[in-house]
Symmetry: D2
Subunit: 347 residues, 4 copies
């Protein structure tokens, strides 16, 4: 039984994380943090939780929280965590940051895309990018796990085998991604009002979305070459789910069997990567509330493009579920303990 | 470990039932029936399920199925089950019927509202109305459980304490109910097309809905008097959930404390009845994918009306979840084994 | 050609009003007011409008606006208009207030329900309740029209003939109303976020909603007796539309023909009241973007209740469309000029 | 005043067409055809229409209809119209076909993509592709107008200036398109049920969608070279609207000004093409129920890709509205008569 804390428990990812932790038999929640709702209980805000004294929200400095917990999850807006995580904190506890402040490996990349000063280099250098299916081993030996973004998780997992096994022209990658509205978080914003989102479809953050450098960093490492991608997110009028439609030019004479084999080989030890095979479609509803990713590919022989498709639940595999995977691995639990592989709803 | 079968596994209630049974540690699924999809696997139709050889769909006569199973769930359209359930079937196995054919206690009531011949009297007389929170004891001693309808479950549970403790004028009951679209099942029907339902709100079945006599039968038994109610269902553009807004004239000088106490007393042993108290609101999203009912009441001193509100998930407490409760009780498992009390999603 | 101004042009009702006015051949928009967006153009905010220099948003005192305009529409939050409308303003121009500040005829009623001081009695006494189908004649002879609320319009029009012709027990009226989300306006509020509203259904304002006294005031005038009603609003996950399901006990021996005749007689001169007759259903989608109300009734002989149903578009008949009707009548245009009777979409 | 007929009036496009024709001052509807609903009135099916004797649905042979009408619109499923349109029909009347049977110029292309015999060559050769903004002149001199598909209209109009002015690598075009559910028509299909579509996002028809050859045909004509594109449609949980996100590699040293100028020049005479300029976003809600297309572009200097975005209402500009444009031009009315340029709703 380990002691856990969640800072930023009232956002959508934070609340989902608490729900998963409550169902996890190896953890005890000892701290829930919220600046705005200090003194309330999480079940006052999310009435799906039943009244529970342990869901009291507090607002303590991270250094104090770190003394109470074996692991502290940070589910905070960008640019907040980097000023909170100190060496002293890391000496006390494992930090799993669901935000973006420790994901980019160089200060320069962060500063270019986030237009703000990056975290201290000494801290940043300790961060491990927590894309669990790929960095399982590294996750064990750090005190600072930078949990990947939602678009990022979906895009990288969908494209990695193609990049790793050199099957595509790495200069041709286009990721046309679509997200449900929880992806935007629970902040008060005209663009998140029901009547603004409902019955509408649009792209946003075109050429400038901050998940771009994260995807490029990781694919470049796999390719051992600098990769620049085109990434375009869109907003779908639904609560949850991400679909990434990924396009790339196949290298000459790459066969369908090679592609199929690349996926199977690359993910042979990854139980929650549900590779469906060639010619299948993936749908966000089938991964809802699971920690699964569904992946398929199509090969257009007319254009010699591959269209690879990935679908995840942005709040689970794209945030809280993957954070739990990282915790599980770090503490030696089964990687998927407390997570579900098939959707709790047929709808 | 008991052996279970589900006949009609590909409808929304059937598939939800299978999902719950797969997570239930005391059962083994030995038969899944579907006329239309015989030979396919349930996971081909509902891709939230992962491939699983045990999900093969068959189409055998009920008598054969009854020989294989300790309990067989029927999730069929109205007017089908009554012709399938024979004494021989009941001698072999427990039948839990999620349909309407055995819910009304008299042949006459069935024939009036369903415009069809009722089930044989001998069979009908063996049926126990499976509103678990009220008929826990009776459920144990029958081979035929008539699982209540979704609107019915929500309405009866919301009104029962008021009727039982004689707090309202029983001639004044109005139930204005609202349901998500899964309530209509998965049949091909213009009225269930996305573009017909989306961005629309309407009432239907006004004065004629078949859950009316079911509610009247049960409330009458509690009151020991014949009760006639006004029941009006509406269709909400959402997948799941039922909200019942129930109105009644309070008897003279009934105090808020009396009402509050009625709810607390009546449901004191019912863990999954989440009585929120006076002046609270209930919302369908907070009970989604749980076997919970959320109940509250308001007393309007200007009109002396009580407005009692209940919310359930129509597929769980209103169908498959309650069917599992009945199975659990019959076989001596914990009543709530395999069911959840708080929503798996904060959304 | 008359000169019009709209104060509060950027809310949902205000913007809808501007759209209707742009299509009205007898008006010229000379002023659009917005405190928050002063200096922008309305088409920057609502990109369905094409760029148009006339849509520049200003923020001038009402007294100045009143000098420019033959009519000024106020589309403001509660409790704002009452402090802006002075005798001097009314001497200059016709005011059509889409808000609630002048709808209740007594200061006391306002103060009870709105918990704030009412408008000055002298101003209030000049206000005419602008339920056009009923007060056509009075509207012509005032400088201050209090445009009715959305729930109110739908409820009163659905019930008026029953009350007027003494067909129901006036102490038994229950209005269970449902509204799309535009009814809540365009303010930043957690309860209006997409993910909070979507896939959910709930009641709100139970026993306390401020449209209650407005409905009671108007029905009481028709009945020549004090009427107290039960009014319960609900939020539907859709953009637009109101459905009112109205229940009342019929008086003894009232025939269906009498009811039918009451509707036909009462509304014989009202082109946009689309009375569908007995046994029909009404749906919000069919009145979307029209100035129509669809009305039907059902008589339950088991309970002797009448269930009367009304459906309107809350932004049109329930706000901006009816405001245009009032303007048309005041200035001697055809009552329906610039308004549509059938929905522009089949969906 | 011309006489018009609509064959297939009860589908979504057909009903929208009737609604537009009813508002068009230069036409008289003399025939509405429906096999399934013969004898009913269109207003029985779409209750947004008020009762109207002229909306009686009949089922006559096309040759008889052609004798009554100056123009007959066909709004039928694929593979039906090709067997109905004969030379005799064309001698009698103008045919505007909203289906696909006459859009592809060669029999071979049709047979490859539609897996069925194409229309007779003599008839096919008379067909003019009715993409009004581009083929205004040709439309005047034919008796058979093949109205373009919805995805097609949006994609071609978004890409045409780039192709025409040789600004992009024509082998690099990727169109990632998204459509509301009316695009699937009003047929009974599990995939169109509310609960199947709602809260879900998926791609479909990957590499095989039949609008692909139509887009290729038209872009190839503009480029004077064979163009092969990648086209991937997706289904959005909303009623109406198409967004096309179009990617292409820019040719070397193409400046933003050149691109901007290409759009302005190409569409200088097209009133309803709402080119928004560089860096803007387009949203489907802003073109809803209009005959407008909103277009913008982004230039990613990191990848040298252009991302061009187009948004239309699939039922209007993508079907019935453009059909009206073609009719208007053929009969010498103003091209946009009876159509709207700005959305009737701010939402």
């Amino acid at each position: 039984m380990i002691k856990v804390g969640v800072v930023g428990a009232t956002g959508y990812s934070g609340a989902k994380l608490v729900q998963l932790l409550l169902n996890h038999s190896e953890v005890e929640i000892v701290y829930l943090g919220s600046k705005s709702y200090k003194g309330s209980h999480l079940n006052d805000i999310y009435k799906n939780f039943l009244p529970n004294e342990n869901l009291l929200l507090k607002s303590e400095p991270l250094i104090e929280v770190s003394k109470l917990c074996d692991v502290v999850f940070l589910a905070l807006p960008s640019k907040v965590a980097k000023n909170m995580v100190t060496q002293e904190v890391l000496d006390n506890t494992l930090i799993i940051d669901l935000g973006a402040d420790f994901r980019l490996e160089t200060k320069q990349a962060y500063e270019t895309w986030y237009k703000a000063e990056a975290a201290d280099k000494e801290i940043l250098d300790q961060a491990v990018y927590g894309l669990t299916d790929i960095y399982k081993d590294k996750v064990k030996s750090t005190k600072l796990i930078a949990n990947p973004g939602c678009y990022t998780t979906c895009s990288i997992l969908t494209l990695s085998p193609l990049v790793k096994y050199d099957l595509i022209d790495i200069n041709s990658i286009i990721i046309d991604a679509k997200s449900g509205v929880t992806g935007a978080g629970k902040s008060l914003n005209f663009n998140s009002l029901y009547c603004e989102v409902n019955e509408n479809f649009k792209a946003y953050g075109i050429t400038t979305h901050r998940h771009t450098p994260e995807i490029e960093q990781e694919l470049s490492k796999l390719a051992n070459k600098d990769i620049t991608i085109q990434f375009t997110p869109h907003l779908v009028p639904m609560n949850r789910g991400i679909l990434a439609t990924c396009y790339a030019k196949l290298k000459k004479d790459v066969s369908d069997e090679q592609i199929d084999s690349a996926y199977r080989t690359f993910y042979k030890d990854c139980d929650y990567i549900n590779y469906l095979g060639q010619g299948k479609i993936v749908e966000t509803k089938y991964v809802k509330d699971t920690n699964r990713i569904d992946i398929s590919f199509h090969h257009d022989t007319r254009t010699n493009n591959i269209i690879a498709l990935g679908a995840i639940d942005n709040l689970v595999k794209g945030a809280s579920g993957q954070a739990i995977e990282n915790m599980n691995i770090y503490f030696g639990f089964n990687q998927y303990h407390g997570l579900t592989k098939f959707s709790s709803t047929p709808l």
